[in-house]
Amino acid sequence: MAVANVSSHDVEHHEHEHHDSFITKYIFSTDHKMIGKQFLVTGIFWALIGGFLSIVFRLQLGFPDMNLEFLRPIFGGWIDETGKLDPNFYLALVTMHGTIMVFFVLTAGLSGTFSNFLIPLQIGARDMASGFMNMLSYWFFFLSSVIMFTSLFLEKGPAGGGWVVYPPLSALEQAIPGSGLGMTLWLIAMTCFIASSLLGGINYITTVINLRTKGMSFARLPLTIWSFFLTAIIGLLSFPVLFSAALLLVFDRSFGTSFYLSDIYIGGEALPNTGGSAVLYQHLFWFLGHPEVYIVLLPALGITSEIIATNSRKPIFGYKAMVISMLGITILSFVVWAHHMFVSGMNPFLGSIFMFLTLIIAVPSAVKVFNYLTTLWRGNLRFTPAMLFSIGLVSVFISGGLTGIFLGNSAIDIQLHDTYFVVAHFHLVMGSASFFGLVAGVYHWFPKMFGRMMDEKLGHIHFWITFVGIYMVFFPMHYIGIAGFPRRYYTWTEFSFSDMYTDLNMFVSAAAIITFAGQMIIVFNFFYSMFFGRKASLNPWKSNTLEWTTPLHPQHGNWPGEIPTVYRWPYDYSKPGSKEDFIPQTVPLSATPESNLPHEEKLVNLEKEIIAEEGQILVANESKEES
């Protein structure tokens, strides 16, 4: 009874929504779909900034003799009289590129967009558990973005100690100009960002647990939802630790404490701080930092699972194994952080422990890869741009994942740590894989977001430029890394062991420029198709999940009438016996006797009882309303 009442109330409520003003609809919106799009557009903005910064430092690395005078209108005094990039600003570029890409693009832009957009639509909910908190989550992110963006224009430059901002470098203004106001703004921006992530994460978790529609058991959740759910849990448990790390850093910087500082002589004076530990910060940072890798990766893997199944016209292989491996990754992601610190001076015994734990986490990742491969096997593959990017994701995930086996092995890591081998590794496994997931998601759910199709041919061109480009940029870095080239070097010519490969670096830089330019294709495709794209059909990919049962332009509340009930898992593609090659989750088992499997036959009776019961409630409800 209560259920029916609530939903009829929702319908009325929904009819009042037509009076949304521009501000409540597009700016301070509490509609999860609009908030998702806000995250996406902000994410695209940041991706362009972050990509551009990387191009600038790639110019320095690939063409060290180049005159960068043409960048003076943007960077002003950071280009010196001879047209060279300032080394401090080079470090600032590297730092901001990392911060922007990891947090603002691949965390907020990926998780923020798709968790918001897809969770209510795919579990059958009218909105997030708290629409207001959800709005707050975006606006904290926006505030964080504004502060971080402002820091780019400071006289002394933005933060410059690498995206990990290790103290004492980040704590002492005497050490590098970026550790002044730039670092302060970095810390404030990150604090807002953490608040945003936590507000979002709490919402995602609550929504998935409490607001699933009738019949949507956890075992019937699409893998996207599983991944968003687990991502939110990781974020909720690890971001507070980053907050504490940042807070202690604020204290050290501004209030004279010595959490991280000890025995320092700098700028001609001995500082009073003693007893602190710089390694403590590294532990706290990587306690978030490593789970963060999975925060950006898991949503991409979830999105890929959904897209590969849909476009292979095949159920995802090993649904349970996929869920279990994601659970395994979630848990293990918290106990591997110190593999970033094998040579930080921490006790080598700890190094041994973390080496064992790290290589365990490779197992669930391997299981996922084999499951993707088996899903493709004997499928009927449609190469939509989303599908191509998902296949690309599997490829870069393998390439980057395998090099993790080198780096997780502490004996081998001694040589490779902080060289370009690491840069190649995480740009493939974390950067490119998540980015491919993000792009695949955009291509796949664009019709649901804007009711129009993105152009497929442009999508194909974009894929091939990006896929080949990504490999041309990051594959050669392995060679550079094996040769021992250290990271975050302004130039390598100071050393004879690294005074070679100018050709390879030039090649990498050229490839990076082309790949970045290629991204303009999707930017164009995205904004052009938003207004002028072909009108989408209701279910353009012939997909099973719930979001495709909503109207073309779902209003706030998503479904105009009752929320549909779910009768089956989301991967009934090409089921033997059925006429179509897909059976949406809303089709009862009793309606498809021709394709039911033996164990499903038993469920049919149960299902009939439930349907009958529901019918009675509806009838009773209607008669009550009439009276």
């Binding site: 080394p87 401090n88 470090l91 690498g162 290790y166 004492p168 470098l169 050490a175 025995d263 320092i264 002589y265 700098i266 001995a270 530990s277 710089a278 095949k314 194994a321 040579v343 001076g345 080496m355 064992f356 290589l359 490779a362 197992v363 299981v367 890869v369 088996t374 493709l376 096997w377 004997r378 499928g379 009927n380 593959l381 449609r382 190469f383 296949i391 393998i398 390439s399 080198f406 092995n409 004996a411 081998i412 740590h417 902080d418 041919k457 194909h460 490999y471 060679y479 094996i482 040769a483 990271r487 302004y490 062991f497 420029i513 330019a517 303009m520 294709i521 072909r534 593609y573 090409s574």
Partner: protein, 344 residues
């Protein structure tokens, strides 16, 4: 010049793409091909996947073999030989998996491209397969980890008693080197003692520091264990000696260490590489500010006899600058002066 070329390139690329886009959009409307799935473009993409696989494999093997001597740094330490071996074993294992999985990935992409007359096979799970591909990677990884762990344990074990000690202190933006002298014990230090004449903060009231001496480069004997005692005086740095396969962070307030046995003298390595200018180097691998990329020091590996000769020729801190002991209490000062006179 480059900028102009790049700008022109981008403009050209964009205009070409725009034209292609308009033309194909018109054609697809005219043909009404948007409804079909098994289109030419589906086939083209499937073929491109195979092209990528074959092209990529050829490029990778060609470059890896051609450039091997370039990117494979010569190794000059005992443990380095072991870690290099681990590296290449891991490379063989992962390389095999890399090629195999990619062949499957792209071949499946090509083989199972959309066909209107076909249907995908409904194959939702197979627990036996899942168990196999959980256990096999687990076993392979265990073997790799176990061998890595044994090497790691040996490398990080305490240094032998007779190891030659060298102190390396990082600061913005260079390294300072200190030798313990005859007693092979470094004198104490305190960062509050650092000043223009005592850049390392050596405590000269500690008798062990009397024979400590500075050096412009790290000179170490071949075939004997060497212990680097590493510290930093301002921010994090990291000692990286690529040919020694050695890396350890330098942390202010927390001394660290790394010991190893060099296996080839600089002269031997020069002969082996046919490069008369070859030097072993130390670089910094923990970002430390503006000059991070230029913290170079040279390591010279010599024969043990030559090393001993070199050590005996060095002048200690207090010999070089007797002012360093001027503030000491008289008894210590006397001792120090005796020390200076003895070594003359």
């Amino acid at each position: 010049m480059y900028g102009l070329l790049i700008a022109i390139g981008i403009v050209l690329l964009l205009s070409v793409l725009w034209m292609v886009y308009r033309i194909q959009a018109l054609i697809s409307v005219a043909k009404g091909s948007s409804k079909k799935i098994a289109t030419t473009s589906n086939k083209v993409n499937a073929i491109l996947l195979m092209v990528f696989l074959i092209g990529g494999c050829i490029l990778m093997f060609w470059y890896s073999i051609k450039e091997f001597d370039n990117y494979q740094l010569p190794v000059a330490s005992e443990h380095g030989v072991i870690t290099d071996q681990l590296f290449w074993v891991t490379m063989a294992v992962t390389g095999f998996i890399f090629v195999l999985t990619h062949i499957l990935l792209f071949w499946f992409g090509y083989r199972y491209q959309y066909d209107d007359n076909k249907r995908a096979s409904y194959y939702p799970d197979n627990n036996k397969l899942e168990v196999i591909w959980t256990l096999v990677p687990a076993v392979v990884l265990t073997v790799l980890v176990f061998t890595g762990w044994r090497a790691w344990k040996d490398i990080t074990a305490p240094a032998p008693e007779d190891a030659h000690v060298v102190e390396i202190m990082g600061y913005q933006f260079a390294w300072e080197i200190r030798y313990p002298g005859k007693d092979n014990i470094l004198g104490d230090y305190d960062y509050r003692l650092i000043n223009a004449t005592n850049s390392r903060g050596v405590d000269f009231s500690d008798k062990n520091s009397f024979d400590d001496f500075p050096a412009q480069q790290v000179v170490i004997p071949k075939g004997e264990p060497v212990l680097f005692k590493i510290r930093a005086r301002d921010v994090l740095h990291s000692v990286f000696a690529p040919h020694m396969r050695l890396k350890m962070d330098a942390v202010p307030g927390m001394p660290t260490r790394f010991w190893f046995v060099p296996t080839k003298t600089t002269t031997e390595m020069r002969a082996e590489l046919g490069d008369d200018e070859f030097e072993y180097e130390i670089a910094c691998t923990e970002v430390c500010g503006r000059g991070h990329f230029s913290m170079r020091r040279v390591i010279t590996v010599v024969e043990p006899e030559e090393y001993r000769k070199w050590v005996s020729e060095q002048e200690s801190f207090i010999q070089r600058n007797p002012d360093l002991i001027s503030d000491l209490p008289s008894d210590l000062k006397e001792l120090a002066e005796i020390h200076i006179n003895e070594s003359k």
